[in-house]
């Protein structure tokens, strides 16, 4: 392995950016491909598949055998709001492979008693997101219903290009939210990425069912990354 390739790969992994180490198993030469780099032909198609699935494997292309080792950051889910939905969402998302962090400055809501075994921050999103920045391998679901808490986080999620951004609230609530986000400087294209009303339309009624709908939408967004320029799905 080329020492420079190893250094580059580790730097990308530390920065939570996806990278694939492509090794020619015939002559041992290797190189790093970052997400978004253009690679032509069958090899390029296999690389695109590996970025989407995260699966490593060998591929035959151009009469050679390449090994693609896909290094994807662990996807995670940040939930704004320590509410009933979040209580159901946190354990389900964790089981599905999306570790959760919950942020809610309302100390009556954000109690370890209500949220055992979850990373819980009884602070304003502004403060937590400064320490733990959002990124494109993070999903954000804003479920407090309170613009004072949700809006900053939603704008930050759009700016960080989170792979999923969802916001609880009716169409009417969302129309008002759109006005506020425009005033905060978000573009119309960015705002179009927000899933609102939140969750896949499965007719969810209870908080736990809404959590299923949000988790399903998060997984769909993650697994269809890059298939749609705007990232908007469902």
């Amino acid at each position: 392995m080329d020492p420079y390739a190893l250094k580059t790969l580790n730097a990308e992994r530390r920065a939570r950016r996806a990278a694939i180490l492509v090794t020619d198993l015939g002559d041992g030469r290797d190189r790093i491909v970052r997400e978004g780099d253009q690679v032509a032909g069958d090899l390029g198609a296999a690389i695109a598949r590996a970025f989407r699935s995260g699966n490593s494997g060998s591929v035959e292309a151009e009469g050679r055998t390449f090994f693609l080792n896909a290094h994807l950051p662990q996807p995670r889910l940040v939930v704004i709001g320590a509410v009933h939905i979040s209580q159901a969402l946190a354990p389900m998302a964790k089981i599905a492979g999306y570790p959760v962090e919950i942020i809610d400055p309302r100390t009556a809501f954000a109690t370890p008693d209500r949220f055992p075994d979850v990373a819980l921050h009884a602070e304003w999103p502004e403060d937590v997101l400064k320490r733990h920045p959002l990124d494109s391998y993070t999903a954000l679901a804003a479920v407090t219903h309170d613009p004072k808490i949700d809006d900053f986080a939603l704008k930050a999620a759009l700016d960080a290009n989170c792979f999923y951004v969802g916001a609880l609230g009716s169409r009417k609530t969302h129309a008002k939210r759109v006005e506020r986000l425009l005033a905060l400087g978000a573009t119309a294209d960015q705002i179009a990425r927000i899933h609102a009303p939140i969750g896949l339309d499965i007719g969810a009624a209870s908080p736990a069912e809404i959590a299923v709908a949000v988790l399903a939408q998060t997984i769909h967004a993650f697994r269809s990354r890059g298939l749609d320029a705007k990232g908007a799905v469902a």
Binding site: M1, D2, P3, L6, K7, L9, N10, R13, R14, R16, T23, L25, G28, G54, N55, S56, G57, S58, F67, N69, A70, H71, L72, P73, Q74, P75, R76, G97, P99
Partner: protein, 112 residues
């Protein structure tokens, strides 16, 4: 292979390999490139080895690491990468004991 939210730097084989390299050590990197049947570690898993035979990570559940380490020391000496195959069909492999019944292919290369 998914990397953890915050890399576990003390146990991450590729981070350790980079550290060894900076310390001026000779290093080999072994990678699972193919599996069949009930292989214990997924494709893409790494074992990293230095010239003294110190190693971190895994390519199996501890069954074939010993054999990979000794091959890796040859690879460090020669600089020539090797493709190793372990499985029940292979008499030697059976001796080193991939007893889970799976088969794995491990690519061993020198760093630099």
């Amino acid at each position: 292979m998914n990397d953890s939210l915050y890399l576990d730097e003390a146990r991450d084989p590729l981070i350790i390999a980079e550290g060894w390299m900076k310390d001026g050590k000779d290093v080999a990197i072994a990678t699972v490139v193919e599996t069949w049947g009930s292989a214990p570690r997924p494709v893409g898993s790494h074992l990293v080895i230095d010239a003294e035979g110190n190693f971190h990570g895994s390519v199996s559940g501890g069954c074939v690491e010993g054999a990979v380490v000794s091959e890796a020391i040859d690879v460090i000496d020669s600089g020539k990468a090797k493709m190793l195959e372990f499985g029940v069909a292979d008499e030697t492999a059976w001796q080193v004991g991939l007893s889970c019944g799976g088969r794995i292919k491990v690519y061993v290369e020198r760093l630099g």
